[in-house]
């Protein structure tokens, strides 16, 4: 299992996958907005989305776990 971590603080404006989805390395999984920028967050692992810890509108800090990927 591996975690996808937020690289910057901000607000979640979009979640582009759901639990059970297969993701590949480099695939966008959500979008964080902060400081007038929308930063796509890419999966750094290949596997199946096990848990999504965030929802649209939620604030996150740098280093927060956004989701867990299984079989990574």
């Amino acid at each position: 299992m591996a975690n996808i971590i937020s690289q910057m603080p901000g607000k979640i404006v979009e979640v582009t996958i759901k639990v059970g989805d297969k993701v590949t390395k480099g695939q966008q999984v959500c979008m964080i907005e902060a400081m007038k920028m929308q930063m796509p967050i890419m999966s750094t692992y290949e596997g199946v989305v096990k848990d999504i810890k965030i929802q649209v509108g939620q604030g996150v800090k740098k280093g927060d776990i956004l989701m867990e990927i299984d079989n990574a």
């Binding site: 690289q7 910057m8 603080p9 400081m35 007038k36 920028m37 929308q38 930063m39 740098k62």
Partner: protein, 517 residues
């Protein structure tokens, strides 16, 4: 051959053998070159002249009276690098682990004095087991000499530190206080204390690579400027960096001729429009802009792995070396946090000290706000940049690529904080704050009391955006000298640099400004 000459040859060859074949083999097994091999690789063939070959310690305690330490574990001298003189001190790990004793320190610090007095760059090659404790306070005194020499030379000659082996303890202040620090992967380890000392004093269990390796300093602490694969890569990169720098603070870096660069200063770059998305919230890699506008795309990046939300490094425009400071929208929105501010401030100060013009590329929403950065002191860190830019007297040219808001507009060098020329691309947004924030503050009551607050808010945002969030408003007041097509950026920078070549600035005397250190 006379006995005297025979004796001379024997003595000399004995010293040149360094720590002997076994120690040299061990150095090679570690994947490192010896100090003499590094010197031979670094300098133009046959140009190195050694100084102080016969210098010897005078310690008698702990059996040192019988200990031969060839050249005192540090090889000092001068030679040519691409035809230019450079002074070096190269620590020799094969000789009593390159330990730093009284005469080792004396040789090292006198080498820096020599470089300073002769006005040529200094390159230190660090590979030392640390303080020679057998010499007690004499060693400590020499650390002080070393620090004093390098700090008194700071701002007079460029100083480059190469961490090619261990450099631990108080000795590690030495490379950190030089202008640029290169660290070799695997072999280069630097720290205020090694793992054993950390364990006994604090209980922390940590291995040397994690505590003192590349990740520790090039990514986390920001003390390492350039990461190198091995010794040869490190020496190659040092030669490359030197090509951008002048010998000393009284002269300018060498300008390459048109024949040497073969890149037209007036070159128009049609595809630059496509690199930067017009939508202000879409990230992109600013390197794509930098490499297109500079001579031959040749960019020597400093701090590539640290505070990546901003980019700094050296390049040339029409053959003239320049320092580039750019936002990186791809990382943390390109907003300036404490680390990014430190990175920019020190780079700007270096360029100013050594007569290197500065090119600033803005796509910056502001300084990072919020508790994390506030409590780390973003105001005092951010202030370093403002000090550095306003204090700097070198030519400064700023281009607003897409956005330049709020404190970051002034902090990254606008006309009123020192830019000689400021240009903006047509879709630039130059503003005190974004339209959304401004409208919601100015018209807070009106929006709240409106029958349709959402529609009213959007109307007011659109009005503010139309009025202020564009380059024309700033250009009308003269904050921007010209609004230029992206493809004409290089041409405009090169023309401005030519005009600014003989720029002079007169200011009343003071000791120095009280920068927020």
């Amino acid at each position: 051959m006379s006995k005297t000459i025979d004796n001379y040859n024997n003595r000399r060859s004995k010293i040149l053998e360094m720590g002997g074949t076994k120690a040299i083999a061990q150095q090679h097994e570690r994947g490192s070159l010896t100090a003499r091999e590094r010197i031979e690789y670094f300098f133009d063939p046959g140009t190195f002249t050694e100084i102080g070959l016969y210098v010897k310690h005078r310690t008698t305690a702990f059996g040192l009276d019988k200990k031969e330490i060839p050249a005192e574990g540090v090889i000092v001298g001068y030679g040519k690098v691409n035809g230019r003189l450079v002074v070096t001190a190269a620590e020799d790990y094969t000789t009593m682990a390159g330990t730093f004793g009284e005469y080792h320190g004396k040789k090292f610090s006198e080498a820096i004095d020599l470089a300073k007095n002769m006005g040529v760059p200094f390159v230190g090659m660090n590979d030392s087991g640390g303080a020679r404790l057998q010499e007690g306070m004499d060693t400590l005194q020499c650390y002080a000499w070393l620090f004093r020499s390098q700090i008194l030379a700071s701002g007079i000659i460029p100083q480059i530190a190469l961490i090619m082996g261990p450099c631990l303890g108080g000795q590690a202040y030495h490379p950190v206080m030089q202008d640029f620090l290169f660290q070799c992967k695997g072999s280069g380890r630097m720290g205020i204390a090694g793992p054993a000392f950390v364990k006994t004093q604090t209980g922390e269990d940590i291995d040397i690579d994690t505590l003192c390796g590349i990740e520790a300093h090039a990514v986390k602490s920001g003390e390492t400027h350039v990461v190198c694969e091995d010794d040869r890569d490190c020496l190659d990169k040092t030669r490359e960096l030197l090509s951008f720098l002048p010998d000393n603070n009284k002269i300018e870096s060498r300008k390459l001729t048109y024949r040497e660069i073969e890149d037209d200063p007036e070159r128009v770059i049609p595809d630059l429009d496509t690199v930067v998305p017009e939508e202000p919230y879409v990230p992109y890699d600013m390197h794509e802009v930098i490499t297109r506008i500079i001579d031959n795309g040749h960019f020597f990046e400093i701090h590539r792995d640290f505070a990546q939300n901003v980019i700094v490094g050296f390049a040339r425009f029409g053959g003239r070396p320049a320092g580039i400071v750019a936002s990186q929208p791809m990382v943390a929105a390109g907003a300036i946090d404490c680390d990014a501010a430190d990175k920019i401030a020190r780079f700007v100060r270096f360029c100013d000290l050594f007569n290197i013009p500065l090119i600033n590329l803005h796509d910056v929403p502001g300084y990072w706000i919020g508790s994390t950065e506030e409590w780390k002191g973003i105001l005092r860190h951010g202030a370093k940049m403002i000090y550095a830019y306003i204090d700097a007297t070198v030519p400064k040219i700023t281009v607003v690529v897409r956005k330049s808001f709020a404190g970051a507009y002034t902090g990254m060098c606008c006309k009123d904080t020192g830019a000689d020329f400021m240009f903006a691309w047509p879709f630039a947004r130059i503003c005190i704050v974004g339209a959304e924030t401004a409208a919601s503050i100015i018209f807070a009551r009106e929006i709240k009391e409106s029958d349709d607050p959402k529609a009213m808010k959007e109307k007011r945002i659109a009005e503010y955006r139309e009025l202020f969030e564009n380059p024309y408003c700033a250009a009308e007041r003269g904050f921007i000298d010209d609004i230029i097509l992206p493809g004409e950026t290089r041409k405009n920078i090169c023309r401005a640099l030519e005009l600014l070549e003989n720029k002079t600035v007169a200011r009343p005397w003071r000791k120095y400004s009280n920068i927020n250190l």
